[in-house]
Amino acid sequence: MNMPRFWREISGRYNLIGSRCGNCGEYFFPKRDICPKCHRKSMGKMESVKFSGTGKVISYSIVHDPHPAYSDMRPYVMAIIELDEGPKLTSQIVDCEPEDVHTGMRVKATFRKLAEDGKEGVIFYGYKFKPE
């Protein structure tokens, strides 16, 4: 992934900035410009919010066969995490043994290196999660 493309999503990936619908109050991550529930009524009413970064594991997998840019981390744990505000996201779980991860486990966001682009040597950063 090239630098400008990554840079455009930094507010979400660095700071967990998403959206809240001013019409129904529902939270979304990443940011959305329209609420899938309110449609037209949410136009112009989507507000920026920063998520607390705490949540729980919905499901997970231990990845043994990753894309090349992630090879030096393997095996690593990928998980779907439900934030306490409601939205779900996909992230790695770090700072614990893969076998200690379980469904329902409480986790919190931490800022880490995501991947290194071998060709250009660019390092990408963003959120991962660790046991709370």
């Binding site: 499901s59 990845v63 996201l89 996909t90 990408f124």
Partner: protein, 390 residues
């Protein structure tokens, strides 16, 4: 809306076809289907091509033009040729668009092809291209692979419903058993549960034999308005119902990762249109991109209650001779999964069965068949229900 029938089918051998190009296989399937249908080139009103990523796999875009040209339809009849991309559902969406173009009265005879050539680039790169069907910004960037997302569905299904590792393996065992009977299949070797459980770990709990392979292959069907179908074939197969639905592209945004709502909605639309219920279906081709996706499919399509799909595999209810044979072609796992071709290849298998031409894998008394295709991890689903007209 007019009734539409399949009047011709053609398929290439699936596999790693190193000696054959994208162009070669696309044309072979097209010519076979046109030959099978009894039409001539001048009868064709339009061409639809399902293809996920020829640009990334073989550096060629504009593939509808390419195939129209080399099947001989560009310079003389100048037919409209349209390429459709919906990841693994590309061929199935192309089939539905072709159906709509005839049902609407716009066209009378339409050719639908699906083709993908995945093995010209290395496995690592091919896997990355296939994974472009998942959300690059919010899944892939964080290290998610296509297999790891399926693995998360599998774990959730196992924890919630008690689905076992062995039950998942049985899906692969049954599909290989079926594929061994299909001369066009990529893998024609029977396996057992141990083969699956001893294969390399890809994304825990899923292993190499839980996942479909990278493949080359193409398939084509010819559709016609039902009222003229019998002029061309004595075994027309009617498209009785067809439904398409969407869901979020990211797996994490789904309401529930143990069910694919896109499948549920596409199926409901297809069943309503056909005026039938799941129990009326005699056999099906479903989207087994992984063993868990087949288990979820047979539940979401209404063949088995939610959470009972694993047991159905264990009890071989989905094997030939069982309650509802599923993936008699071998499915994605054994027949192979050239992404854009799969949705059309499924229709080819359904039509063979309904014509009674499926040879050693023939389903006895096959009258109604269902095809189910998925794009990505479930962002798109298409369900088609077919019935022999006589």
């Amino acid at each position: 809306m007019r009734d539409v029938a399949v009047i011709g089918i053609g398929i290439t051998k699936f596999g790693e076809l190193w000696e054959r190009s994208f162009r070669d296989i696309g044309i072979e399937a097209g010519i076979k289907a046109i030959g099978d249908s009894g039409i001539s080139g001048a009868d064709i009103d339009a061409l639809y091509i399902g293809n996920m990523s020829a640009g990334a796999f073989v550096n060629q875009e504009h593939v509808a033009s390419l195939i129209a040209d080399y099947v001989g339809l560009a310079q003389t009849s100048h037919v409209p040729a349209t390429r459709i991309e919906a990841a693994g559902a590309s061929g199935a969406v192309a089939f539905r668009e072709a159906f709509l173009s005839i049902a609407s009265g716009m066209h009378d005879i339409v050719v639908v092809g699906g083709a993908e050539k995945m093995t010209d680039i290395g496995d690592e790169l091919a896997n990355s291209v296939q994974a472009m069907a998942i959300d690059q910004e919010w899944e892939t960037v964080f290290g998610a692979t296509y297999a790891s997302l399926h693995a998360m569905m599998a774990r959730a299904h196992m924890e919630r419903y008690g689905t076992t590792r062995e039950q998942l393996a049985m899906v692969s065992v049954i599909n290989h058993r079926h594929g061994a009977l299909n001369p066009d299949a990529q893998f024609r070797r029977e396996i057992n549960i141990d083969t699956v459980l001893r294969s390399g770990m890809v994304a825990d709990p899923l292993r190499v034999f839980d996942m479909c392979p990278l493949s080359d292959g193409a398939a084509t069907v010819v559709l016609a308005s039902a009222d003229i179908a019998e002029k061309f074939t004595d075994k027309p197969v009617k498209i009785k119902g067809i439904g398409q639905a969407s869901d979020t592209i990211s797996l994490h945004d789904r309401r529930d990762i143990t069910t694919m709502d896109a499948t549920v909605y596409a199926a409901k639309r297809a069943y309503d249109m056909a005026g039938i219920k799941p129990e009326d279906v005699d056999f099906a081709e479903v989207y087994d991109s992984s063993t868990i996706s087949e288990i979820m499919a047979i539940e979401d399509l209404g063949f088995f209650d939610k959470g009972k799909g694993g047991k159905a595999a264990e009890d071989e209810k989905i094997a030939l001779g069982g309650e509802i044979p599923v993936n008699t072609s071998g499915g994605l796992k054994s027949r192979g999964h050239p992404v854009g071709a799969t949705g059309v290849a499924q229709i080819v298998e359904i039509v063979k069965q309904l014509r009674g031409e499926a040879d050693k894998r023939q389903v006895e008394g096959a009258k109604i068949g269902l095809a189910h295709a998925i794009g990505g991890t479930g962002g798109t689903a298409v369900v088609s229900i077919l019935e022999a007209m006589r």
